[in-house]
Symmetry: C2
Subunit: 505 residues, 2 copies
């Protein structure tokens, strides 16, 4: 048997995924069978033990145990759906954490446009794009909706890298065809040139992945101020003809909103600008939506456009705090975006954590205003809700709800194996040990240690990260601990479409 | 020469510390000499290269190169002062991340008191306290101001562990002598019993560390509602007599403030309660201070009490957002606290990051109110300012400004070696490599890879964490990257009083 031949896989143990926004489903002694096309072929949930689960799954599918690769969760491990990043700017990754005291418009000019334009150097683009695809995979991101740059060759390179490294991706060449707003050094020469370049990137994706099975195009008018009316209308037409997704920004910052009002005096609102240009469709992902009015939210809900909530970016760029609960109540589907590098982190787990925290700032701020306290408390998002945003919510935003986001028969196996550290009874992390300048010794507590030299604890090679499981926690508590202190060390393995694309030793 | 004999040390390379709140001082080709007592004996800054720095330092002190241990920073590494955690509840560490949708008062009852009381089981206390001391050291916390529990034996165990493991600590036995507020199962039997127990923990620390050189007592009335007036007055007297530090909570949550108003009708404010009981002294560390009035802030400034800002906790428990800039303008010294487990993270780097983000929520909220925008923008804290809070600010809060927080002759060597990851030109992290099911191969970009089997990148043992340095960043940008994406993986070594207490392999 050739190593490179895709094989059937059998995943055994504990599985966790969202049942609904409010409910997490945790099932043990279970089996998920994944066929050689990467699709979930069977799910066995109600088993008395793993051997039974394994036998049931194999029998149901008529598979032989010799023909499957088997992965079994250990203690404090579980399978979880891969994360979905509904908004990330690949070329901005080197700027992660670099934003100073800027807000949106000066941040674009000072940090963002200079970095983006520099990636027309393809060696630099290869370095940056490889790093961001690899890094997000390490964090468990199995699907990413990328903004690239205006450059066709570099955008095509991003497509190639996603396809080769194995991340499910939407790749969008950014359209910036309005002369008086975009900087001279970084803009489309004309609307026609923008459209031609966009088509070239779509054709490249079609050549690499004809069915758009792993990598697909996404139309990307940067944001209303960057685009001419003609440009936006042309992209809307392209969307209708090609059935593509589209993505843009909306209502992130108050100065930006004022600029939109000035540039589009005939539109009643920011959302109305997109609506008037035919872009407010069910296939549109709107990032941020921090300052939407009631009317705008109603319009977005009516058009079934989606919102990418980017909490790290909300905080970093002093944009405000988007109100997820309120958007849900309006009927809008919401996913999470890292918004690298408006957001400082490439991790969707960090975005989920910050979504919970930012929702508490929404609640705390409203405490100071009118209305009863119970109403404000409802603004807060639970662990279950932010993990839903990170998986099924994102899938819905990107039209992938039938393909990824949970563990059901017929879906693709886009998943991560999560493992958390256990604290031993000694109080040390399992895998951690003491060495006193090379010769082992424990901490001599209660004796006079101060003069006894250096006792240096160190990891013996395995570093399980910052989540300390003591052993008495419920599974709900374990998930909360993962959300609040987890990082890429806890993402042990990552699969996309059944292919193992990342593994930690 | 015996291994356990403390030796002189020479640190060479790049050093970073705060010069002032606004300014970070970064010096290269420098040497810091640390004597066998752990004190900085010489600092050589203006050298043309490391050999010169080394020679100057040795010559100045008359040390032989054979008698010193030498540590040299590599590329993308620097020495930084150890972090100072001015507010952490050691017994609550197992609950990190577990708070659900609670706010302060129900969180205390649901999560906190049950955990704290359970640590009278000394085996459990040893496990938890070892874990929290080790974990905070891993994150670079060289000094911690701990709340323990009401239990004397467990509090003494925390003292022993800090002393043995080598963390500089203030250990406070919690006083909770008010019968009608504290739960029946977790309170002091009487004011006398509380005082007696407090004295026992102080005497234990004196026995372990007579000069309070590494571990010192800190008087700890939990917060005003937990304490009787007699109890608070007795602690204030003990403070005056013994010259101890003290710590408590203030104005974290609006319901808590209402409770204080109800319990202490004779006091004009929460701060006034402490002032009337003699506790508002220069040696008092007040945690939170989210909802202080102008008058309270003026009073605290007048009394020269300190504030421990706990931004993770502000967000987690929906407390609000403390206004650091405003407290500074009032003349109050501020440090950072993790407030484990009201705060979800034991890392002061995370607290610094969240201090920057929470300050942006202060700014954004005020945008929606009156006043000019520039005034609101001033609420935001810079990278330099939050790193100051994490080091010199904390030292000032704990009366240690002459001993730790920066690299000056005469100070103790409480420091960390920080190292960041470099991205190779391939886009992989240095130390990361590709293996295709065991046989190495790079990603075959631009070729039809989809059918070519599994290409699994993995770390070859060294994991440099999430900060990706591309090579073109300024040092200011590198520090920003560390602040926003750094974690304990970047803290390579930690020293307290010259003793190496943590090292990553």
């Amino acid at each position: 048997m050739h190593l490179d031949q895709p094989r059937n896989q059998l995943l055994l143990g504990t599985f966790v995924h969202s049942k609904s926004r409010r409910e997490i489903d945790i099932f043990h002694n279970a089996a998920v069978a994944v066929d050689s096309n990467g699709k979930i072929a069977a799910v066995e949930r109600q088993c008395s033990n793993l051997e039974v689960a394994k036998a049931h799954a194999l029998a149901k599918l008529g598979w032989s145990v010799d023909d499957v690769d088997i992965y079994t969760t250990k203690e404090s491990q579980f399978f979880f759906p891969g994360f979905i990043d509904t908004h990330i700017h690949a070329p901005q990754y080197p700027n992660a954490g670099i934003f100073g005291k800027t807000t949106l418009l000066d941040w674009l000019e000072k940090h963002t446009f200079p970095m983006e334009v520099s990636l027309k150097d393809l060696a630099k683009a290869r370095k940056v794009y490889t790093a961001v695809v690899r890094r997000t995979l390490c964090h468990g991101t199995t699907t990413a909706a990328y903004y690239a740059t205006i450059d066709v060759a570099a955008t095509n390179l991003l497509t190639d890298l996603c396809h080769a490294i194995g991340q499910r991706a939407f790749v969008g060449r950014v359209c910036m065809d309005r002369a008086e707003i975009n900087p001279d050094y970084y803009r489309d020469e004309s609307t026609e040139a923008a459209l031609r370049a966009t088509r070239q990137t779509i054709e490249h994706i079609r050549a690499v992945d004809p069915a758009f099975d792993l990598v697909a195009p996404i139309l990307t008018p940067r944001f209303a101020p960057s685009c001419t009316s003609e440009g936006m209308r042309a992209l809307a037409k392209l969307q209708r003809e090609g059935g593509f997704l589209a993505q843009t920004h909306i209502s992130e910052n108050t100065n930006e909103i004022a600029l939109v009002r000035e540039l589009f005096p005939a539109s009643r609102s920011y959302a109305d600008v997109y609506d008037q240009h035919g872009l407010l469709t069910p296939g549109m992902v709107l990032a941020h939506a921090v300052h939407l009015t009631e009317e705008e939210a109603d319009l977005i809900a009516l058009r079934r456009s989606k919102v990418s909530h980017c909490p790290c970016s909300n905080s970093s760029l002093t944009s405000g705090a988007a109100r997820v609960r309120w958007m849900w109540q309006k009927g809008i589907e919401v996913g999470l975006g890292t918004d690298v590098s408006g957001g400082y982190s490439p991790s969707i787990l960090e975005a989920a954590r910050q979504a919970a925290l930012v929702s508490r700032h929404v609640a705390a701020t409203r405490h100071n205003g009118d209305g009863d306290q119970e109403d404000h408390e409802r603004c807060k998002l639970t662990v279950e809700e932010v993990l839903y945003l990170a998986t099924r919510g994102g899938a819905l935003c990107l039209g992938l709800e039938d393909r990824v986001g949970g563990f059901e028969v017929g879906k693709d196996w886009d998943a991560q194996l999560v493992g958390l550290g256990r604290v031993a009874d000694s109080g040390l992390r399992e895998g951690e040990e003491y060495t006193a300048n090379g010769h082992g010794s424990g901490p001599a507590v209660n004796s006079a240690v101060a003069g006894a030299g250096f006792v240096v604890p160190a990891f013996n090679g395995s570093d399980e990260g910052n989540v300390d499981v003591f052993g008495w926690e419920s599974w709900g508590e374990i998930l909360a601990k993962w959300l609040y202190n987890g990082d890429d060390r806890n993402t042990k393995k990552v699969w996309v479409k059944g292919r193992l694309v990342h593994a930690r030793r």
